[in-house]
Amino acid sequence: MFIQEILIPVAYLVSAVLFIMGLKQLSHPKTAPRGNQTAAIGMLIAIIATLLYRDVIDYTLIIAGIIIGGAIGAYVARTVEMTAMPQMVAIFNGFGGGASLLVATAEFYRLITGMEAIAGFTMTAIGLSIIIGGITFTGSIVAFAKLQGIMRGAPILFKGQQIVNSILLIGTVTLTVLAVMVGAEAGFYIPAIIVVALILGYMFVIPIGGADMPVVISLLNSFSGIAAAATGFVLLNNALIISGSLVGASGIILTNIMCKGMNRTIWNVLFAGFGGEDYAPGEGVPVTQKPVKSYEPEDTVVIFENARQVVIVPGYGMAVAQAQHMVHELEKILEAKGVKVKYAIHPVAGRMPGHMNVLLAEANVPYDNLFDLDQINPEFEETDIALVIGANDVVNPAARHDTASPIYGMPILDVDRSRTVFVLKRSMNPGFAGIDNELFYNDNTIMLFGDAKDTVTKLVAELK
């Protein structure tokens, strides 16, 4: 009695508190590793407490499941490349959603075989867990496939897509209502809800372009939390409800930040079929017609040597070219010459929230040198050189003033306000939004064409 009614609930409360404390410690890079450990201890306590339940009789499946899952999880966590972090998080979200779906379904079968009456409330929660968990599961698999390149990034669109998706969504809700009405007789409806929810998850993500995946994985992150919370209502378990809500809130905040960074609403991301990788160049401004200034790396040495502050603006192109380690070399050489070097990180610089920071941290760039948009923008006026590496739309001044531009209103890094702007770029091809960048034609902009890694390597050699 003591174990069941006092010890276990108290243990759950302790783990919930540890999760909150862990997340709180994530507010600074110094305390963050401890925060992660705090949360992990919370999880361990929750697991041990659960095993004390007297209903848990057989440990065979439990041990087997933990060994299999633990081995897969540990292997992935050790081997994943930092550039592949978005797809790893995507697939993990999917597993979280899938687990919630399975647990809710398992509870349904436990209740009907135990000949227990199923309350309308419990059945509603089972339905919601399955719907949200199912959407998260297949939706995350599609997001993973698109990011991993298994599926093409371009939106898959067809006529009447919105209507089909609406019907599927209404279908899941209707089936849940029917299941609630028949209670323990819902043996047919539960598998039906699962199937429709899984199809819905797939259909929901296929029309979203590869470039919009940061928003999608943030949203699915939130869903995986909400699914866990819904399962908490099925099991009447506060640990699940609290942890699920925390994750749900976190995902929503990140989704919001990503949308703001791209100047889009969540509805526009989800339903506009925008952001394929293979966008055609925009019409209007003819590409490469206007003159640009282009230098070779050796021509830049004098400018670098007279600089006091250099701001490096990395984009995903830098990570694709694997240039981050060389960029860090350049940073060290400049610092040795007494130049102040800072990095300006746009919210959507990588493929998921905060991705660019991790990529730079991996290349040993200290986090004190990383500045976000609001911190760095006032500094460009006093910056001698802005070094744009593999970024494009996030430095296009048209976002500030050209009301006709598709990116008008998007928050950008004001690199054009610095004395000189070097743009490292492969060619004059436009970015993913398919629009020309007026930055390239400014008087103070100098283009350094070529592979980003080669160019930075040459810069390093020249400055040594």
């Binding site: 440990y59 499946l61 597993f95 398992a106 409330f121 699940l240 994750v247 941290a361």
Partner: protein, 102 residues
């Protein structure tokens, strides 16, 4: 509506507020570890999975003989949730160790 249920809803709503308060304080630099770490936390579903897989006295007669659907579903759920928990915390730890001070 019964009182127990009402308390669960209270907990849910208050936890969302706590989540917003705590997570808005996480700097953008740490958003990727935040995501992978919160991923691990959402693996809390493992609690439900353990309960389901631990039940053995229930059997349903199916075409393939007697089967304990609850335990089987729970078993798969444990695998999924453990991938999330172990993978999530480990990868977060790996990333956070890379963040260095000047």
């Amino acid at each position: 509506m019964n009182a127990d249920l009402l308390i669960l809803i209270y907990v849910f709503v208050l936890a969302i507020f706590v989540g917003f308060e705590v997570i808005t304080k996480v700097p953008p630099t740490l958003h990727t570890p935040l995501m992978s770490g919160s991923n691990a936390i959402s693996g809390i579903t493992i609690v439900g999975a353990l309960l389901a897989a631990g039940f053995t006295e229930l059997h349903i007669t199916t075409l393939w003989g007697d089967l304990n659907i609850t335990a089987v579903l729970g078993f798969v759920a444990i695998i999924f949730a453990t991938i999330n928990v172990v993978g999530g915390f480990m990868v977060t730890n790996r990333m956070l160790k890379m963040f260095k001070h000047k």
